[in-house]
Symmetry: C2
Subunit: 165 residues, 2 copies
């Protein structure tokens, strides 16, 4: 069950695995201290700069506290896509657990657990585990082109973190 | 895995089973034609009359179409409880698939599939299957006093359906 989808390499620093038949685990190291990575994840003006991979992102709602909601609308050349969810847990600089739902598949809800680990050398490991309701939904995400989009987002985040020095 | 939690009897017409370790299935026959049961499920003024089991229910949002949201706030002597979710599918008189989330456990999302079956004799069978993300969440619901609350809601719905003739 725990299969490697993508092994990280110097050129592609993202590692994608499937710890169970309803999960996707994504691991990525960022060349920035944890406090800076946390800021890029939780300051809406910064989130808007990397989340959309160059596309305009309108942050309609962003309440990163337990019970709060979030909603982002991405405007791409192909059209408009809304995403939303709710925070289950927010532990500053360490951990966020939130739901994730795309307007195109309403009611199909993913639980995302994002953990930030201070590597002690000025770098930060971010581990993102997504739990789906069913194996079919998990496989749908794996085959959706998620990984390309994710790498584009993370590359934009790399650039933002470098600018934040 | 498919265990009977409550067998229906003449005094308790609700049958509760667990088809899998992440599901609860609830079956109940109502003494009213399907169109009337559907109306009681989808007209917000009617929903407010039975959903809260006698407690005041404020329907803050109620958009029973694919992608629409719902949010109900129940005011009981013990306090205020909000519930919300989103519609995945709405097939009039036949089937609703929606998510369900209680403010007290934000980000813990249940997928509810509600099906109405016309029994042909003026009665309607309602089958509600709830799918949880984990077995622990399912068991938490089973031990939450859900069944008492459910029977109170359904008894209130029986009375409403009788008044709607």
């Amino acid at each position: 069950m725990n299969q490697t989808v993508t092994q990280n390499t110097p050129k592609n620093p993202t590692r994608v695995t499937t710890p169970s038949d309803r999960e996707i685990r994504i691991e990525r190291i960022f060349d920035a201290p944890r406090s800076r990575v946390w800021k890029a994840f939780t300051d809406p003006e910064l989130v808007a700069q990397w989340w959309g991979r160059g596309n305009k992102v309108v942050i309609e709602k962003f309440e990163p506290v337990r019970g709060g909601h979030w909603r982002f609308v991405e405007h791409s050349p192909d059209g408009t896509n809304g995403f939303e969810g709710r925070y289950r847990e927010v532990t500053p600089e360490e951990r966020v657990v939130q739901t994730f739902e795309w307007d195109g598949m309403p009611g199909h809800v993913i639980v995302e657990t994002v953990e930030l680990e201070d590597l002690g050398d000025g770098r930060t490991r971010v581990v993102n585990v997504s739990l789906f309701h069913t194996n079919a939904e998990r496989d749908g995400m794996l085959h959706s082109g998620m990984e390309g989009g994710l790498n584009d987002s993370y590359a934009a985040l790399d650039r933002l973190l470098a600018r934040m020095v």
